[in-house]
């Protein structure tokens, strides 16, 4: 999976959670908790969706690593390569 | 044997005869019972209800009175206080207004004003209603006024069974009871009821139905049942409630029915303004508002003194067509 494909998946799943703001338009290094007004339920839903879509399990301890679009893409790329 | 008992071999009886049998039965059962009123003796009663009773029971117990409602109603109250069980007949509800002071200020209040010491076990029967071309001094339906007064029990027998069965429990009641007999019911015939007294606390569902509840009493019951037949022909199942007791109202039966059908129409021969129909409508609003699917409908007499000419009298009274229209209005277009 290319970095671009992963980015598309991440933005896609974020978009499902927040129809109000388009995640494609926020900066890659913006904290989604601020930029998209994500709360812990949204983060958990994002983790759940990414797990389902990509088969990558993100343990709770790693949640801080996916709080930006760039961070999430890098983390998922790393994990899918390792898997 | 009196003339208008049912012919041998039939078991039909008139409403008039049912009232007479009820009086006769009470006179036989309880020596304290006596009947008094205008023309109840020698003339046999204005509506011939007491015809023959003078011969059977004598002038001590079937007493003709002067034309003074206030006097003989007051005498009835005194007799009741003295331990008798009087039945006072007032010729028509219009004339009862002459005795209003005795009924409302004395009969209805004495128990309360005596601190519970004096009951007034009085029964007053009177004719009510229009339809016999007796004009405005004899044809009004003022029972709703009496239903306003605490201390009175107000009954409206609409069937032969109730005409036969309500008098005895009314006499047994320790407090004043008014019985309203609609003039158009006297000639109705029906099966001979047994001697059993009837309940005088509950309304009766005379015809079950699921689409609309039509609440009525007394002389309007036959017209309402006719209207229900007409509605049934169009596939509308009307539930017809006969109030029977105008005070205290049996709210439970009315409200339970309205909760089922979600629609109510009240048929009351009285005038609409400040009427018993208004009271029932208000109670439905208070207790079943959230169950309603339509505004409560009312069919009442035109707000005019009851006219004398037949066509105008009929036009002023609730008729089955109007009841059907009011019931349909609660259902919307079909």
């Amino acid at each position: 999976m290319t970095e671009n494909e992963i980015r598309n998946v991440v933005i896609d799943e974020m978009r499902n959670l927040t129809p109000e703001i388009d995640p494609a338009e926020i900066s890659g290094d913006a904290d989604i908790r601020e930029a998209l007004d994500f709360d812990s339920m949204d983060i958990l839903n994002l983790v759940t969706a990414l797990h389902k879509r990509l088969g990558v399990d993100i343990p709770e301890a790693d949640y801080p690593k996916i709080t930006t679009v760039d961070g999430a893409v890098a983390y998922l790329r790393e994990r899918s390569r390792a898997a | 044997m009196t003339a208008d008992r049912p012919p041998p071999g039939t078991n039909e009886i008139t409403y008039r005869e049912a009232v007479k049998q009820a009086i006769r039965d009470a006179m036989i059962r309880d020596p304290r019972v006596f009947l008094m009123g205008e023309d109840v003796g020698r003339y046999g009663g204005c509506y011939a209800v007491s015809k023959g009773l003078l011969e059977e029971f004598g002038p001590e117990r079937i007493r003709d009175t002067p034309l003074s409602e206030s006097t003989f109603t007051g005498a009835g109250i005194g007799a009741a206080l003295g331990g008798m069980r009087p039945i006072v007949e007032i010729m028509t509800v219009n004339f009862s207004l002459l005795a209003l002071d005795q009924i409302v200020n004395n009969a209805a209040t004495l128990l309360h004003m005596s601190g519970g010491l004096f009951n007034v076990p009085l029964v007053i029967r009177m004719a009510t209603g229009a339809g016999r071309q007796l004009a405005a001094q004899h044809s009004h339906s003022l029972e709703g006024w009496y239903a306003h007064v605490p201390g009175l029990k107000v009954l409206a027998p609409a069937t032969i069974e109730d005409a036969r069965g309500m008098l005895w429990p009314a006499l047994e009641d320790p407090d004043p009871v008014l019985i309203f007999e609609h003039v158009m019911l006297y000639n109705d015939t029906g099966p001979l009821p047994d001697r059993r007294p009837v309940d005088i606390t509950k309304a009766a569902v005379r015809r079950p139905g699921k689409d609309v509840t039509i609440i009525t009493y007394g002389g309007m019951l036959p017209k309402t049942l006719a209207a229900a037949d007409m509605l049934a022909a169009d596939g509308i199942a009307a539930e017809v409630i006969d109030l029977r007791v105008l005070r205290p109202l049996d709210e439970e039966t009315v409200i339970a029915s309205v909760r089922r059908t979600r629609r109510a129409v009240i048929v009351d021969e009285g005038w609409r303004s400040g009427s018993l129909s208004a009271e029932i409508s208000a109670r439905i609003m208070e207790q079943a508002f959230w169950d309603l699917d339509a505004p409560v409908g009312r069919v009442c007499s035109a707000e005019v003194p009851m006219p004398y000419p037949r066509h105008l009298e009929q036009a002023a009274l609730p008729q089955p067509d109007g009841i059907v229209a009011a019931a349909r209005a609660t259902l919307g277009p079909r």
């Binding site: 812990s40 709770e60 | 699917d293 505004p295």
Partner: protein, 381 residues
């Protein structure tokens, strides 16, 4: 031209009793006017000088027409007022007879629906505005709602109207602060054990089965309420009525503002996984605008949790007719005194706002302590 009777539309000026330049005093009679009721004297209510008559004798003018100009003492003469536009004197239109049944609602107003239909629609989550009525005057009746509810049991109610929600919040909160004598208590709860338990529990589960700390808090409140019925129920004009079951309303903020607190029914009786699923479902449906109105009216108490990005504590406002609300601040790491030592521990500040008409601080304090106790042994939740 003064109105000299409710039914007077116009009058004829018969005679001036003062002429321009005359001084006039309040109460003077200045003119005579003829009406259908006869000649009537016109009194003046100002003091000054009559500078100009505007209506000549013999003229008939509508009520309200200026008849003359009065100049106050020392006041410069004013410009002549423009006469009112000519209006035809027509008889009032006949009044319409009173309607026998209520007229149908005007377009754009709330939908015409019977009381029974409204109650049923609220209970079944049916949008009345979307229905075509079969009742009197086209009103939606209960049968219409029943049909609609059967047709689409899970029909979406559409997006939440934020402006309407703001109004509803405003009304409820204003009423709360106006009517409910609030009292407030708060306590700090050590979350070390609860979070460690949660972390261990979540560690070997896939994301879909993980729990959020909020669920522990909600469950702890629900369980504790079983022993404190005076905090769980409704206050009405008839006084307080405790609820038989605990339906905790969870406050859920909407992105873009607004807040709803739908109920998780039977909160105390449901296992954590079940609660988490219900919570998730509620959040999703709040955001999608598909809540059922019964979920909004069911709560017997509300729990508001600020989540990880909020502040330390909150003093919440009770949502009437409920009688209490529990607020949880963010779980933060903070200095914690224990055995004469200070450690850094994760802790949460729990607060309670109670209705003083129904409950008192002492019992409420015991309740908060029970919540604390339960969170110290999360396996009991």
């Amino acid at each position: 031209m003064p109105s000299l009777g409710a039914d007077m539309a116009a009058g004829k000026l018969v005679e001036w009793l003062k002429k321009p330049g005359d001084a006039v005093r309040r109460g003077d009679i200045v003119a005579v006017v003829e009406t259908q009721k006869g000649a009537i004297e016109v009194e003046i209510f100002e003091t000054g000088v009559l500078s100009e008559t505007l209506v000549p004798p013999g003229a008939t003018v509508p009520v309200g027409t200026p008849l003359a100009l009065i100049v106050g003492e020392g006041e410069p003469a004013r410009a002549r007022p423009t006469p009112p536009p000519e209006r035809p004197i027509a008889p009032a239109p006949p009044t319409a007879p009173p309607p026998v049944a209520p007229p149908p609602a005007a377009a754009g107003a709330r939908p015409l629906a019977s009381p029974a239909a409204r109650r049923l629609a609220a209970a079944r989550g049916v949008d009345l505005a979307a229905l075509t009525g079969s009742g009197p005057g086209g009103a939606v009746v209960s049968a219409d709602v029943e049909r609609a509810a059967e047709r689409a049991p899970a029909a979406a109610r559409g997006r939440i109207d934020l402006a309407a929600m703001r109004q509803a919040i405003a009304a409820a909160m204003a009423r709360s602060k106006r009517e409910i004598p609030h009292y407030y208590l708060s306590t700090s709860i050590d979350m070390t054990t609860a979070l460690a338990w949660l972390e261990a529990r979540n560690a070997d589960r896939p994301p879909a089965e993980r729990l959020l700390p909020a669920v522990l808090l909600v469950k702890a409140v629900a369980l504790a309420l079983r022993r404190f019925p005076e905090l769980n129920g409704f206050h009405s004009a008839d006084g307080f009525r405790p609820a038989e079951d605990v339906h905790v309303g969870v406050a859920i903020a909407l992105r873009g503002g607004g807040l709803v607190a739908p109920a998780i029914r039977d909160t105390a009786a449901r296992p954590l996984d079940d609660l988490m699923a219900a919570f998730r479902d509620l959040v999703a449906r709040v955001r999608a605008g598909t809540l059922r109105s019964s979920e909004l009216s069911d709560p017997t108490i509300t729990v508001s949790s600020l989540g990880e990005r909020g502040v330390e504590g909150m003093l919440a406002v009770i949502y009437p007719p409920q009688v209490a609300i529990v607020g949880f601040g963010s779980v933060t790491r903070r200095p914690w005194a224990t055995d004469d030592r200070v450690e850094v521990r994760p802790a949460v500040t729990a607060s309670l706002a109670g209705d003083h008409r129904v409950s008192d601080g002492h019992r409420a304090a015991l309740f908060l302590r029970e919540v604390d106790d339960l969170l110290q042994s999360p396996e009991r939740l």
